[in-house]
């Protein structure tokens, strides 16, 4: 029980540190990043939807 609690605290601290470290870069990317046009988003969403379909196929196959 003791080790499990320390594991949870350790993972929470690690993920919290990751959050702190990526936040400055994420804020810049969110505020100053290039905005995509509708056609650009379409060209990205289609392969991502295909990935979602492929994952569903994998789930049903095992």
């Amino acid at each position: 029980m003791g080790e499990e609690l320390w594991m949870k605290i350790g993972w929470a601290l690690l993920l919290g540190a990751m959050l702190v470290m990526i936040w400055p870069r994420a804020r810049i990317m969110m505020q100053e990043g290039r905005k995509g046009s509708a056609s650009e988003w379409k060209s990205a969403l289609i392969p991502l939807l295909l990935v979602a379909g492929f994952v569903l196929l994998l789930i049903t196959s095992v």
């Binding site: 959050l19 470290m21 990526i22 994420a26 990043g33 990935v51 492929f54 196959s61």
Partner: protein, 224 residues
């Protein structure tokens, strides 16, 4: 300036430099994936505990943030990349042993590994052959990553299985997006460094694999 004009305006030197970056990145990525798999098998063989996963992740993240940025332009950076990927591979051992204990564990791991390979090759191939610029996805992907990290921290203590499963599904989509984003960076970012690109793509693949394995294990596996 539209994309076609950008392509026309690129000098032969820039094209050669991009091709070299792509070749170096994929060569190093292949080597680190093999090394990581060897380290995972080693940790599976010695049956390290879950604490090893946490400790190796802490070590890898520390190297990633504190050492790699200072060594990314030197030969020492290659050693750091192998250390990061080796530690992350070593941390996979307890997870893989957990799934191997299931009756259909080997099939789950093989399916997750094969699925990850297919997704990576398809998305990377798509980004490289179309040479589309996916830099516009950066803010969106980062927002998704932050939301997932916050939810993961909350779920460490809440321990809601459905939330954990939903996060794995979201991570699969976010990492797929990052594969498009990072691959297009190799083509369009003149300052891209092949060591940093290798680690980025490695992390995309690793997170994709572990999330896919979690989804397959939870929705298809049994603890028999």
């Amino acid at each position: 300036m539209n994309l076609n004009e950008t392509a026309v305006a690129r000098s032969p030197e820039a094209v050669l430099s991009t091709n070299k970056l792509i070749r170096n990145t994929y060569t190093l990525l292949s080597m680190t994936l093999i090394f990581s798999a060897v380290m995972a098998m080693a940790s599976m063989a010695v049956k390290v505990g879950p604490m090893a996963h946490l400790l190796s992740s802490i070590g890898a993240i520390a190297l990633l943030w504190l050492v790699l940025p200072r060594t990314a332009n030197s030969a020492a950076g290659i050693g750091v990349v192998f250390a990061i990927t080796g530690l992350l591979g070593f941390g996979l051992g307890p997870i893989l042993n957990h799934y191997l204990a299931m009756s259909n564990g080997p099939q789950l791991i093989a399916t997750a590994a094969g699925g990850t390979g297919v997704i990576f090759l398809a998305l990377s191939g798509y980004a490289l052959t179309t040479r589309k610029d996916f830099s516009f996805m950066g803010g969106f992907l980062m927002t998704g990553l932050i939301v997932v990290l916050v939810a993961m921290i909350a779920n460490i203590f809440l321990a809601i299985p459905a939330l954990s499963l939903a996060m794995s599904a979201v991570i699969v989509m976010i990492m797929s997006g990052f594969i498009l984003y990072d691959t297009s960076r190799m083509v369009h970012d003149p300052y891209a460094n092949y060591l940093m690109m290798t680690v980025s793509l490695f992390l995309n693949i690793l997170n994709l694999f572990t999330s896919l394995l979690h989804l397959l294990g939870a929705l298809s596996g049994s603890d028999d």
